[in-house]
Amino acid sequence: MHSIELRNITKRFGKVVAVDDLSLVVARGNFLTLLGPSGCGKTTVLRMIAGLEEPDAGNISIDGKAVFSAQEGVFVPAAQRNLGLVFQSYALWPHMTVYQNVAFGLELAKRPKPEIKQRVGGILKDLQIRDMEERYPQEMSGGQQQRVALARMLAPKPGIFLLDEPLSNLDARLRVDMRSELKRLHRDTGATTVYVTHDQLEALTMSTHIAVMKEGRVRQHASPGEVYRTPANLFVADFIGSPKINLLDAIATPGEGGTHLKFATFDIARMPTRASGAVVAGIRPEDIRIALEPDPNGVEFKVYSVLPAGSEIIVNAHLGATSVVIRETRDINIEMDRPIWLAFDPKRINLYDKQTGNLITPSKN
């Protein structure tokens, strides 16, 4: 088990700053997901940890030992960092069989033949691809190739797992299955893991920690629950959650019993968060309650669209120019164009500064 520490890492590609003065610590045994839209620099960070890319500035250490330092001129090559990497494309060598692919690293490490045979056999068995030893990668399905890529990473027993969007080439069903397998693998090996994805569901379901990135910087580094419940800024709030969070402009005025929020078409009173001036309210779709009958605590909206998805119903309702999305988990029948009454829970609303986009004070819930 190993810890990873990045300090003030900057990486430029020509004039483009891919990673901008980034610092990040991954404690031993953690499962950190780098989450962000494409081009946010997450893969570059992973590649710099792996040693495939050299930063322009900063330090990287693994287990307290510097593997890169711009000041000292230190650069430890990838092979000596004791880590394993799974590529998005899997990068399985098409001219080698499954066995040869998995054994490659052990062969280079000059392990004795019987040991290699035993180790590779064991891993392939664990990953349930033992009977495919002699196949070539292109003769296998995407899910099987994925397992080979994992096996190849596991074979030399690395202390750190680096995974670059390993599930993005699988179909939706397999992706869900593999999530729990990867989580199990992390649990069983206890290896420090850095996982790159743009899929928030993968990040939320698998990680112990999430670092949400944008334009080469970490915008929030916290546990999945915290990232979801109290996004640190509007970017994270908007990026995490499906259906997306409702972000509504409001004017806040401190008053008796809490802050009063004045939206364009309705008001919410007695917010526990103290704020004043122009704010943006972040309201998760599941934190809005629908009433089908007139409700004194509710605001009357008109149903714009209803999207039933089996276990839940996504409702989009309008009031003038205001549009909100609600997630309803009760099995109720809502027709389009009918009026509904929406009740907002003031305790579960996050307020963001309209200017800076940062969270004002976490609401207590």
Partner: protein, 606 residues
């Protein structure tokens, strides 16, 4: 490390810089750049230098000259003197006339055939396309030799050709020799090149683009003219330019068909100059050829507006409903078959027949003999030239040819992968760009001019390279250099296909650069390597223009031996050699294709 009295920032910065410089693709790139510099840039500079200094030979032309001193004498002599007309302007005009004619004919035939094979419901398309590319594999001058067999006339050729012997109609001079037969015979060779390029472009055309047009209500004709044609026009235009540039540099055909009637083009004039020891004047003509070539390629890029438009698209195998030729189907089929018979089989048949004629003036069946194949030398026949299978120099030249083609093929394809690696891994760096550009330079230089460059180069030892003049290795070096544009292009495509992650996976696994190259890059680029080898092998095997200035009796190859025979009027052994060469080429092509699945079209690059 011991303490060094440098400023504290120095050591880390130096270490960092050193690490960057010693990255494998940088080291490889620098080595390759040096090689390219020796192979391409220095020879070109020497060539230019020769044209602007007094040569030892000039002492017989002008008084008081000091060899080595600067002069514009050669340029003045070529461009602006009493002999300019015969030396430059007439050959230039002839070159332009024949090259333009060849390009237009070859391209029209090649594109039409490509469209028929790729997009129509012509029967037997598979056979047609494999036969259609045969002329590309054969030496361009075989057809001209066959032309002479058929159409020579008594007045100039000294004896009747097949045609006159059969019909008793005297063949007019313009049909026997000069621009008309040059254009016809070279078009019959170069159409195959256009066919390869255009059919590649047509194959990689996404059929959905055409189908979208059809759905919007376009007729077949509108689809062809408004969608298909504009999409393949870059490929067609670059095929046109390439054909033009190659036609300009071709030597064998204009020599066989032009020299007897004193119809000279730049390449034959250049050869004559160098044979008369007017090397500097010949080099001026070579530079003129290079200049024309550069200008046409520049114009091509300006017209198309896309740089590197000479890169052909390779087939991705989109299938679409073929265009129905309906009532024209069989008439077109018959025309195509007739054409292929004339272009591919007839020349070989005529050469074969003539090689069997004991007396070169009699076409009678009782004159047929195997003398020029297996006969003992007899002083009464052809000044004692025996059957080619008996002659020692046949076997020596065959050996030279095969060795030259095989060695060049191996070096070229390996060099191609190295070049591709340095270019792809260094993408975006100046080093990568320079390598790409310099490797492309030989493309601009017509073969005969490129050969001429090497005449001056390596005559004396240069740096680490010993004097190569007159040696076999000079032929290897010039052939490798001439193939650089193709090898770097196909190598780049091959390495690009491997992709970065496959190699990085090995980096993480702990493989050294050498291990990565041996176990990952080379195995994964084998298909490209073999196709590149095949293309180089065949083009080197049949090469005449490039090496005709550089061979010596000891290093003679099959094409150059053939050229000697034909030049001296020994037609039958020349024909026999041509057939032997054709057989060797076709057999090697079949062998490599059969056992390695390589295709010559793929070696063309991209």
């Amino acid at each position: 490390m011991t303490a060094v009295a440098f400023p504290t920032w120095f050591a880390p910065t130096a270490r960092r810089a050193w690490r960057r410089l010693t990255r494998p693709h940088i080291v490889l790139g620098l080595i390759l750049l040096t090689v390219l510099f020796y192979l391409v840039v220095i020879p070109l500079l020497i060539m230019i230098q020769t044209t602007i200094t007094w040569q030892v030979e000039d002492q017989r032309l002008a008084r008081g000259t000091v060899p080595g001193e600067f002069t514009l004498f050669h340029w003045d002599r070529v461009f602006n003197s009493v002999i300019s007309q015969t030396m430059l302007w007439t050959p230039l005009q002839n070159t332009l006339v024949t090259s333009i004619g060849i390009s237009i004919f070859a391209l029209s035939i090649g594109s039409l055939l490509a469209w028929l094979v790729v997009r129509s419901d012509l029967p037997g398309k598979g056979y047609i396309s494999s036969i259609a590319i045969i002329p590309y594999m054969l030496p361009s001058w075989t057809i001209s030799l066959a032309w002479i067999v058929v159409f020579k006339n008594q007045r100039i050729g000294g004896s009747m050709g097949f045609f006159e012997a059969l019909t008793r109609i005297a063949v007019p001079d313009w049909l026997s020799y000069g621009p008309v037969p040059i254009i016809i015979t070279l078009s019959l060779h170069y159409y195959a090149f256009a066919f390869l390029l255009v059919s590649g472009a047509l194959q990689s055309l996404d059929a959905r683009l055409e189908e979208s047009g059809e759905i919007l209500g376009a007729s077949r004709w509108q689809v062809l003219t408004r969608i298909t044609f504009p999409l393949v026009i870059p490929a067609v235009l670059s095929a046109l330019i390439l054909t033009f540039s190659r036609a300009m540099g071709s030597f064998g055909t204009p020599a066989f068909l032009g020299n007897p009637v004193r119809y000279y083009v730049l390449s034959t004039t250049l050869y004559n100059n160098i044979q008369s020891r007017l090397q500097a004047d010949g080099f001026v003509l070579g530079l003129v050829l290079i200049a024309i070539s550069i200008v046409t390629i520049y114009i091509n890029q300006r017209i198309i507006g896309v740089r590197k438009s000479f890169v052909t698209l390779t087939g991705k195998g989109f299938t679409s409903t073929p265009v129905h030729l309906r009532a024209f189907k069989y008439p077109i089929f018959i025309i195509v078959i007739t054409f292929l018979t004339i272009a591919v089989f007839a020349p070989l048949l005529f050469l074969g027949y003539q090689s069997l004629m004991l007396n070169k003036n009699s076409y009678a069946l009782d004159n047929l003999s195997l003398h020029f194949w297996i006969g003992e030398s007899n002083p009464k026949i052809a000044d004692g030239i025996g059957g080619i299978l008996q002659e020692g120099q046949t076997w020596a030249s065959t050996w030279n040819s095969v060795a030259l083609a095989a060695i060049t093929g191996v070096i070229t394809s390996l060099l191609g992968i190295f070049l591709g690696y340095a270019v792809v891994k260094g993408r975006g760096t100046w080093l990568s760009k320079i390598i790409e550009q310099v490797a492309f330079l030989p493309y601009l230089m017509p073969s005969i001019a490129f050969g001429a460059i090497y005449l001056g180069m390596f005559a004396q030892p240069m740096g680490p390279i010993p004097a190569l003049y007159g040696t076999f290795w000079l032929l290897v070096v010039v052939s490798v250099a001439k193939h650089l544009p193709y090898s770097s292009r196909s190598g780049t495509a091959a390495v690009m296909q491997v992709g970065g992650e496959l190699e990085e996976a090995a980096v993480v696994g702990g493989a050294s650069w050498f291990t990565r190259f041996r176990r990952i890059i080379i195995p994964l680029t084998t298909a490209g390597l073999v196709s590149g080898f095949l293309l180089t092998f065949i083009t080197t095997m049949r090469e005449l223009s490039l090496i005709v200035l550089l061979v010596t009796p000891a290093t003679r190859t099959l094409p150059t031996l053939n050229f000697r025979y034909s030049e001296q009027g020994y037609h039958q052994p020349g024909d026999a050699l041509a057939i032997m060469l054709v057989v060797i080429i076709l057999f090697s092509e079949w062998f490599v294709r059969h056992f390695r699945g390589a295709q010559i079209g793929k070696g063309l690059g991209a």
